[in-house]
């Protein structure tokens, strides 16, 4: 497990887990998993396991943080100590604080912030098991949890990463590709409005490579979007079928 693989892409052009370069990891989505929260969602993407809970809109504490013209969106991204191979300290690390901010700013354009002044919406994201691309998976789950809480949204936010492993542009990086690969480009998208709410890059890419990576990530997002919608509807469709029998 800890041995470094020599190559990320084999002779046949397949990746370490047997995926093609433009293939997503299998995704499972569930909505309404935390009864105490106003809205919640759970995502399994490859070996990623992430829970998201949303509370609010509710009163702001401490009160001086309240804004007179819009709601305050608070976001906490946290990795469980057991989510990675080596125990991670439960205290928020530099990386987690940064990701919390990044995810918040990525969700903000989708929320009608001005509808509920002087209130706060709390988003809690807990990574139970990490396998690369947790920020994208977290965004997918958090957006679903917001919709489940009944908070008015312009659109669901979908996220997906593309990157460069060895010399190939690949979609939806997993842990090894993230660490040993040459670049990582996470993209978040509001598909109905065609708006990008997050675009980051680390590593080095040429202009052409960057463009292919972004387009590939957008295609990935568009594949995940219908799954997100289905997950939201599934919570109510089951009851409907049962009752109308």
């Amino acid at each position: 497990m800890n041995e470094k693989p020599e190559k990320l892409i084999d002779k046949k052009g397949l990746r370490l887990d047997g995926r093609k370069p433009d293939e997503l990891r299998p995704i499972k989505l569930e909505v309404g998993v935390i009864p105490n929260a106003d809205g919640s969602a759970y995502i399994e993407q490859g070996k990623n396991r992430i829970l998201a809970g949303v509370y609010g809109p509710r009163e702001v504490h401490p009160k001086h943080l309240a804004l007179q013209d819009r709601t305050v969106l608070k976001c906490r991204y946290h990795m469980a100590p057991f989510s990675v191979q080596e125990r991670k300290s439960p205290a928020p690390s530099r990386r987690e604080i940064e990701l919390s901010k990044v995810i918040r700013e990525c969700l903000e354009p989708s929320v009608f912030m001005e509808y509920y002044p002087r209130t706060m919406i709390d988003v809690f994201i807990e990574v139970l098991q990490a396998d690369g691309g947790t920020r994208c998976a977290s965004i997918i789950a958090a957006s679903l949890a917001l919709a489940d809480a009944g908070i008015p949204l312009k659109d669901l936010v979908v996220a997906c990463a593309a990157g460069k492993a060895d010399d190939t542009i690949v979609l939806d990086l997993m842990d090894e590709e993230d660490k040993l690969g040459k670049a990582d480009v996470p993209v978040a998208l509001m598909p109905s409005l065609n708006g990008i709410t997050l675009l980051q890059m680390d590593g080095k890419l040429t202009h052409e490579e960057f463009e292919t990576a972004v387009n590939m990530a957008i295609e990935g997002c568009k594949k995940i979007y219908p799954m997100q919608k289905e997950a939201l509807k599934a919570k109510y469709m089951g009851i409907k079928e049962e009752a109308e029998e």
């Binding site: 009608f112 949204l153 109905s192």
Partner: protein, 236 residues
Amino acid sequence: MPTFYEPKQIVTPGDLLAEGEYLAGENTYIENKKIYSSRLGLVEYDNKKVNVVALKAFYIPRIGDLVIGTVTEVGFNGWTIDINAPYMAFLRPSDVLSRPFKPQKDELSQVLNIGDLVVAKIISYDRSHDPQLTVAEPGLGKITRGQILKITPTKIPRVIGKKGSMISMIKEETGCQIILGLNGVVLITGKTLEDEQAALVALRKIEDESHTSGLTDRITQMLKKNKPKEEENKNE
């Protein structure tokens, strides 16, 4: 001017509902002359107006609404009341006592204490001020007996039914008095605990299955089916 969904179909935030000469109703918004949904719910096309009936939402106060709330704080000049909304409501003593309020004389916690439930009406609210309540009207005031049930506020209209068909049916079948707080809190007072329980179960079922068709009939059947059993038990 196309529309993209069948009436009563479930839509999610961001779904394109209609294009062109339509009006954006509840839980929808317009961008570039296109109407999108902003909540998870059921679409309704009402002439030119596109509405989405939300499956889950929270209560936003409106002036004149009847609500049921819990006292959470007794202050020097009034009570803070949780009305199940993002904002805390305030109740002033002059709206509760039938005489002028004297801070030296009156002990507010003797009138309403923390944890007490009240049926109240919203008399003022806007974007920059928290809602204010009053209980100075017949039928309003402290709740002394009965059962409380919380349901999603958007489902209150479904509980009422067409021209009150659902609620009057439940009242008739169970013999309970039911007060619907528009904030999603329901008070049920009946003669016996069994009656209250029956109404409670019916209301819960309505909440779970509000988006299905033929609900009134199913609730009627359920209540009628459970009724004879209770009578048999009484005979034993």
